[in-house]
């Protein structure tokens, strides 16, 4: 009787069979729901006489868009509209991510400042911004703040080069004469050379212990080379400042107020969350690390750069990624103020004009999903590079 036999259970009490049964049940329900959806969609579309498929992307759009990064006219197709919207979304997302990171780090570090007043101000900022809905803030900036700006004749001027009024933000436009290609090319070469020198300096330091002033060399290469090239070709890049003519500005680049409002709201909102992440990350590094770095003889700046920040980044990066994704997804709130992002022009205007709800919403969702996945892949790769290498 020493042999242990598996307990005999009736088949309906066998956990394995039960698991299979419930899974099958769930699968059948899901498949049935999917089938019903497809059948209903087919019947409904047929009844409404809506043709399915992506053919509508080749139809003429017939409406204008007030901010386009690529040439676009009313005669262009819905496919082109999609592209214009996507680029506008990416524009606000990329600029927003850069600015919000800077602002978020400043506020996060301020929250840990030894200055009591600064610490409290940063804390108040975070509490205030985090507890108000983003849409509220976007509308506030757009309707109340930008709406209250004066007209073009009373514009607020910054050094006579940049003008702010209720028609938007006017900044100088760079003009590229012949020879500008060379300047831009040397700029690129400077960046590539700097990266190469950094890799070489690191390898040399690991082998011999000798250090190389990488930062100043890079500055010299990235700034100096284009300057030299520019001087050699007779300064081909100039700036055309906006000038008040009649009732509006001529020349320069006009940034539409919708973009400004959306960007300001997204940047200030996300920065409050990033500040908390940065604070938590810096607090997560034990004090002993700082003390150990000092006792090794590292100066405060070096201790921060070589010991504390690399460890804090490990804690900061994963939640930072999700904040970047949030910013990108939140940029779809542009639809409330009419900034022509992907959602506003494609799922808004194009959907209204064509009625192709299924295709358009599916495409829009797929784009955001793809952006989400791409960003998290990129940040995961960076995260794995920064992660603790254990034995």
């Amino acid at each position: 009787m020493a042999e242990s036999q598996p307990a005999r259970v009736t088949f309906y009490n066998d956990p394995r069979l039960r698991g299979i049964f419930y899974q099958m049940l769930l699968l059948v329900v899901v498949l049935w729901l999917g089938y019903e959806f497809v059948i209903n969609a087919r019947d409904n579309l047929r009844a409404a006489r809506i043709a399915t498929g992506l053919a509508f992307l080749d139809y003429t759009a017939g409406f204008s868009i007030n901010q386009t990064l690529i040439p676009y006219s009313e005669a262009d197709t819905y496919g082109r509209v999609f592209l214009v919207g996507l680029l506008n979304t990416l524009l606000v997302a990329v600029i927003g991510i850069v600015l919000t990171t800077i602002l978020g780090f400043i506020i996060g570090i301020s929250r840990l400042s030894s200055n009591w007043l600064l610490q409290r101000i940063a804390g108040a900022y975070v509490e205030l911004i985090r507890n108000l809905p983003l849409l509220f803030q976007i509308l506030f900036w757009y309707l109340a703040v930008l709406g209250a700006l004066p007209g073009p004749r009373q514009s607020i001027s910054i050094f006579g080069e940049v003008f702010i009024n209720n028609r938007g933000l006017f900044v100088p436009r760079p003009i590229f004469a012949s020879g500008a290609e060379l300047v831009l090319a040397t700029f690129m070469v400077g960046i590539v050379l700097s990266l190469a020198i950094r890799a070489w300096a690191r390898r040399r330091q690991e082998a011999t212990g000798q250090q190389f002033p990488v930062f100043w060399t890079a500055v010299g290469l990235v700034v100096g080379l284009p300057l030299v090239a520019s001087a050699a070709t007779g300064f081909p890049i100039s700036f055309e400042a906006p000038v008040l003519r009649g009732f509006n500005f001529a020349g320069g680049v006009r940034v539409i107020p919708e973009f400004v409002a959306l960007l300001v709201a997204l940047v200030t909102y996300t920065a409050a969350f990033i500040a908390e992440i940065v604070r938590a990350g810096l607090l997560a590094v034990p004090r002993g690390q700082t003390e150990a770095a000092y006792s090794l003889g590292l100066r405060p700046g070096l201790a921060l750069r070589l010991v504390i920040i690399p460890q804090a980044l490990r804690v900061i990066i994963p939640p930072l990624t999700s904040q970047y994704l949030n910013l990108t997804k939140n940029s779809s709130l542009a639809v409330a103020i009419g900034y022509p992002d992907l959602f506003a022009v494609f799922a808004g205007t194009v959907l209204n004009q064509t009625g192709q709800a299924i295709e358009i919403i599916a495409i829009t969702m797929a784009v955001y999903l793809a952006i989400s996945l791409a960003t998290s892949l990129l940040m995961n790769w960076y995260n794995s590079r920064m992660a603790l290498v254990e034995r």
């Binding site: 209903n40 409904n44 400042s113 009591w116 509308l139 109340a144 959907l351």
Partner: protein
Amino acid sequence: MTDEAANLTLAREQVAGPLKPPAAATGAIAWVRRNLLSGWLNIVLTLLSLYLIWLVVPPLLRFLIIDAVWSGTSRDDCLPEKVGVVGACWPFIKAKFSQLVYGFYPADQYWRVNLTFALGGALLVPLLIPQIPYKTQNAVLFFGVFPVVAFFLLVGGVFGLPHVETRVWGGLLVTLVVAVTGIVVSLPLGIMLALGRRSRLPIIRTLSVTFIEFWRGVPLITVLFFATYMLPLFLPANWTIDALLRALVGVALFSAAYMAEVVRGGLQAIPKGQYEGAMALGLGYWRMMGLVVLPQALKLVIPGIVNTFIGLFKDTTLVMIVAIFDFLGQLRAAFADPNWSTPVTLFTGFAFAGLVYFFFCFGMSRYSLFVERRLSTERR
């Protein structure tokens, strides 16, 4: 031994004079010196901070209180040309108050909304105060009975209450309906999804992961558009779903996906021994989860759950984009009233709405801090 060495003495011959007392280490002056004025960088930061405060606080106080117009009946009382001051125009809020709270709910039926608010408050407050007993019964009442009662009270059509279409609902009423429904639905749904994601059964796990990652990857606004424009196409033609209900479904599914990830974090933090202990006691899957694992896991992630609630509360504003007039939507509609168009109307409206949203969100976050602290002292 040289002469010089012989002359060296180790003890001093006179009593040393008293040293100057050290700079105060306690008290207000020392505090200021240590926290605000240590080093030139600190002094610069203090000056900058003071400048920032001077830039923001006095104008804000002047706008909200000192220069504000407190009584009046029309825009004439708030026009700078007529009155001479430009502060907040509170009569505007007073005139639009019922619209901001009830939307276009029939005025003679306001008592139903008020009764619902009062019922909800009366059930919620004892639920939040730890010292009050009967938590289980209270929770059942709030999460199970209250939604049903509120539904019949607000919609009507039974017990002699006239039917009120959701089309005329608006303002804070809609905001709270969306938020409470989202909270009540998303928590159980999120727990089920989290359990599904941690399940050993491959099909259930795959479906849960797909569901969670899909909803988390798209913006809420596309979900609302999906619910508004696409969902009707997928349902039989003779089914008509209320616009508010469609938005509610979207919000609930969306926040359930986020809730699932929070709960999963809690489940992962429970040591394996707890599962094994429960199994050794002969508990089945549901009893093990319900009696042993979930109570501990949920307690761990209360801050995360409340943060999701705060996010959900803020996200209710998005229903405005699919033409449902929530609090913010009503506010925007009120701005369009030419009878109240003054230069300060917009700022007044935003100040009021900001205070309301801040009250709810800040309250929730403080409460979660309080719970967190309470639980952490229990464990110490």
